[in-house]
């Protein structure tokens, strides 16, 4: 196996593979950084260029897009507080505050290096454990998926800020959004009020951009009061330069956490239909739970960025597992990669690795090499990207808003998504204004559909409700959700006491 991997690395290191890999990664970073442009859209743009290439060249380019895109989203998340891709949602929570505190360079590089190490760890899982990971994926029936998503929803308790009640309301609102439109089984219309564009259901992406971009930008505009201010709060001095050794040490001094975040990312990647957004939020929640200073989360601390970024890049490794083991794509990005194989007349499926070892290990090698290339690209581009924070807000915000609208429109080339963007932009702004946290809301929107369909499937398969508890993995996950909620409540109370004590100190 390692000889094959070494041969794959030597093979990929040739210029004819390195070039597509480089340009793919570059396209991925740019596409990832643009809010509203998804990795799938970027890969579709790149796809036509790969038709004339040999299969491995094309796959190298697409692997590059995938890896680059997963990292690129952090740039916008950190600098503007708007996730460039859904996978970067959790990066906003601590990345943006850190940038606002005057350390955008540190925040970006923490994200980049965490992506690098997380991605490589994901690669180790991908290459070394394809078979066992695939076996885990098969253990997941509808009961297990249901319980896993319940565990994910239980994170709402951990992601709420000041008020638990407001967090729960936000999460509930998110779940309600997924009910709008036609039901997933028989297509009955629900809560559509006869409005045409609601009938098809609400797409996730315009909701995400609307909630984050509008809430962020409107809030900033309000604070600056229309004055020609710079986007970065320069009063405290913006540090653009950063010591890489220090940043890398900040990440590597937490080896077990890093490994755990990468594992969470890989595992979520292996299970189909979940995606990197849930992976990064789960890792963030876990980081908060194991932290000795949970009250600091959300204020711009390194752990938050590391958790989110290491897990979302490891997630890419995970989603390549099912394609290698069964030829089943875990998401739309890997589906396009599979399609590329078919175009070249290669049968994907469980025998793919043994029948096409050169190609399979070529993909592994491309995946590993895409990471240093991603770091290189961001190193070259960081100088320019960081300039964003020194731009006047009056120039920057309109451009970003226009980009968001174009992204929402381009998603399906319909105006419906632009209206969705507008509605949820207003909602997001009001939520922030009245102190409702956005994270639980987004979590609800991500998970609602999946919870519903898996509950329906479980009951259709077997009407016995005890199966949720008696099936070991499912029962374990449900137990974990209960513990997760209890732990979060306990932590919440302790944090409140601490803050109360701190307030007391300052008063006297």
């Amino acid at each position: 196996m390692y000889e094959l991997l070494a041969a794959g690395l030597v093979n990929i290191a040739q210029v004819k593979y390195l070039l597509p890999l480089f340009f793919g990664t570059l396209a991925g970073v740019v596409g990832g950084a643009l809010p509203g442009v998804t990795i799938t859209m970027t890969i579709i743009v790149v796809l036509p260029f790969t038709f004339g290439l040999d299969p491995l060249q094309g796959l190298a380019a697409m692997t590059g897009v995938y890896v680059g895109g997963s990292a690129g989203g952090l740039v916008t998340a950190v600098l503007l507080g708007i996730p460039g891709t859904p996978a970067a949602i959790a990066t906003v929570f601590d990345g943006h505050p850190m940038a606002k505190k005057g350390e955008p360079g540190r925040a970006i590089w923490l994200g980049v290096w965490a992506s690098f190490f997380g991605g490589l760890l994901g690669g180790v899982f991908l290459i070394g454990a394809t078979a066992p990971l695939a076996a885990i994926a098969l253990q997941f029936g509808p009961w297990e998926f249901f319980s896993l998503f319940i565990l994910a929803v239980s994170m709402v308790a951990g992601l709420t800020e000041a008020s638990l009640l407001k967090g729960l309301i936000a999460g509930g609102l998110g779940l309600i959004v997924t009910v709008l439109g036609s039901d997933p089984v028989m297509g009955q219309e629900r809560l559509t009020l006869g409005i045409d564009f609601v009938k098809g259901g609400i797409d996730f992406l315009p909701v995400l951009i609307g909630v984050f971009a509008f809430a962020q930008i409107m809030g900033e505009i309000e604070r600056s009061g229309g004055k020609a201010q710079l986007a970065g709060s320069l009063e405290r001095g913006v540090k653009l330069t950063v010591s890489h050794a220090k940043v890398i040490w900040e990440i590597l001094s937490r080896p077990f956490q890093l490994l755990w975040f990468a594992f969470v990312g890989v595992l979520i990647g292996v299970l189909p239909a979940i995606g990197a957004s849930a992976a990064s939020m789960m890792a963030y929640d876990q980081a908060k739970k194991i932290s000795r200073r949970p009250e600091k989360f959300g204020s711009g601390i390194p752990e938050g960025i590391i958790a989110s970024e290491s897990s979302n890049n490891a997630n890419v490794g995970g989603s390549l597992v099912t394609i290698m083991a069964f030829g089943i794509p875990g998401d739309s990005v890997t589906a396009v990669m599979l399609g590329a194989l078919t175009i070249h007349g290669i049968q994907s499926g469980p025998l793919f690795i043994s029948q096409n070892p050169q190609l399979a290990y070529g993909i592994f090698a491309a995946y590993l090499l895409a990471h240093p290339i991603m770091v290189l690209i961001l190193a070259l581009g960081a100088r320019w990207m960081l300039r964003i924070v020194t731009l006047p807000k009056a120039a920057l915000f309109p451009v970003v808003l226009v980009l968001c609208v174009i992204g929402a429109y381009a998603l399906n080339n319909t105006m419906a998504n632009v209206y969705v963007l507008l509605v949820f932009g207003v909602l997001g702004y009001l939520m922030v204004k009245f102190g409702f946290p956005l994270a639980p809301f987004i979590l609800g929107v991500i998970l609602g559909d999946q919870i519903e369909i898996n509950l329906v499937r479980s009951i259709m398969t077997d009407s016995n409700p005890w199966l949720f508890i008696t099936r070991p993995i499912s029962g374990g996950l449900l137990l974990a959700s209960v513990l997760s909620v209890l732990f979060a409540l306990w932590q919440h109370r302790r944090m409140q006491k601490k803050t109360a004590a701190a307030d007391g100190d300052s008063d006297f």
């Binding site: 740019v30 442009v37 579709i44 036509p48 038709f51 994926a137 098969l138 997941f140 029936g141 509808p142 036609s182 039901d183 997933p184 089984v185 028989m186 297509g187 045409d196 009938k199 098809g200 259901g201 189909p272 239909a273 099912t322 069964f326 030829g327 089943i328 794509p329 998401d331 739309s332 890997t334 589906a335 396009v336 599979l338 399609g339 078919t342 175009i343 007349g345 049968q347 994907s348 499926g349 469980p350 025998l351 793919f352 581009g381 300039r387 964003i388 731009l391 920057l396 451009v399 226009v402 980009l403 174009i406 992204g407 399906n412 080339n413 369909i453 329906v456 499937r457 259709m460 398969t461």
Partner: protein, 312 residues
């Protein structure tokens, strides 16, 4: 910043141009999840069509509600030839079973491209080694054997035809599209499903079992799989896939699409790709396809009636 501007320009450019159809990328709606059989068939077709049209053809997977979510979206799209709809026989079955109000008459047919025979497929976790063992077990345990299916679609009709012909009773579980069904059946979370030769790689690897194929004669790609007919079950069933556009598309656009589709479907590369998918290329031009759709609709109405699924 420069990148942001460049991205904005790139997104706006297509709007600025103005010439004959097509002048910007075309969206092909596949109403099922990525990696399913419909997706597998249209993925290799899209670049061939793109070559003929001279514009990018992008596949959009719009799954949900037995494929009718994608159908509704296609129907509601502007009839300008920039939204194509990858359709199969489910458009008739879901209409008659009352899942959706979208009918094949809401669209203009362009061409039929392929025909894929259905194969009754069992999970590796099931004890049956052959059709006979399966049938004996199914008769002993009515209503207990689970079938993963897109409700009211072809993957529901095909097992229902077997139920009707053999007198067994299945329990249906909703899995939209073949890709999610595959995950469930590989893990043994459902016992049976309708699949086809697109999945033969998994059978070769021992991860799946083909019990019987619904063709007239055994298929050359999988000659050791018996036909339902030779097993005494008179069921022949296949799923036919084609391309349609929303009603009201200009005649020039339809003509361009029809000629492009014909050229693409007749390319050797398409035949080669379909062979890998265990699918026959079945090309029909616009007039022939329209006639066939009418017949197929009547056939499906009668099927729905016979199976007790008719809701109209």
């Amino acid at each position: 910043m420069k990148k942001l501007i460049a991205g904005a320009l790139a997104a706006l450019l297509p709007l600025a141009a103005g010439a004959a159809y097509p002048e910007r990328p075309i969206k092909l709606i596949v109403p099922w999840a990525a990696g399913g059989d419909t997706d597998n068939i249209f993925r290799p077709f899209a670049p061939l069509l793109q070559k003929q049209l001279g514009e990018t053809v992008v596949i959009a997977n719009v799954g949900g509600a037995s494929g009718t979510r994608g159908a509704k979206e296609a129907k509601d799209s502007p009839p300008d030839g920039y939204t194509l709809y990858a359709v199969h026989d489910y458009i008739h079955s879901t209409y008659w079973a009352g899942v959706a109000d979208v009918n094949y008459t809401d669209f203009e047919p362009i061409c039929l491209i392929s025909s894929t025979a259905s194969v009754l497929t069992a999970s590796p976790k099931t004890p049956w080694k052959s059709w006979q063992e399966f049938l004996a077990d199914a008769k002993k345990r009515p209503g207990q054997i689970t079938v993963g299916a897109t409700l009211a679609s072809t993957s529901h009709f095909f097992p229902a035809l077997i139920e009707q012909a053999t007198g067994v009773k299945f329990k249906y579980v909703s899995y939209e599209g073949l890709a999610p069904r595959m995950n469930a059946i590989l893990g043994g979370h459902v016992d049976l499903t309708d699949s086809n030769l697109t999945q033969k790689g998994k059978v070769d690897a021992g991860q799946l079992k083909f019990l019987a194929i619904a063709t007239e004669k055994r298929h050359p790609e999988m000659p050791n799989v018996p036909t339902l007919k030779e097993l005494g079950v008179n069921v022949v069933y296949d799923v036919n896939r084609g391309i349609m556009v929303p009603k009201g598309a200009p005649a020039g656009v339809i003509a361009k699409l029809e000629s492009s589709c014909a050229a693409a479907a007749n390319e050797p590369a398409f035949a080669q790709a379909m062979k890998l998918q265990g699918t026959d290329v079945r090309y029909m031009g616009r007039p022939e396809y329209a006639k066939w759709l009418k017949q197929n609709d009547d056939l499906n109405r009668n099927l729905a009636k016979d199976l007790g699924l008719l809701k109209r």
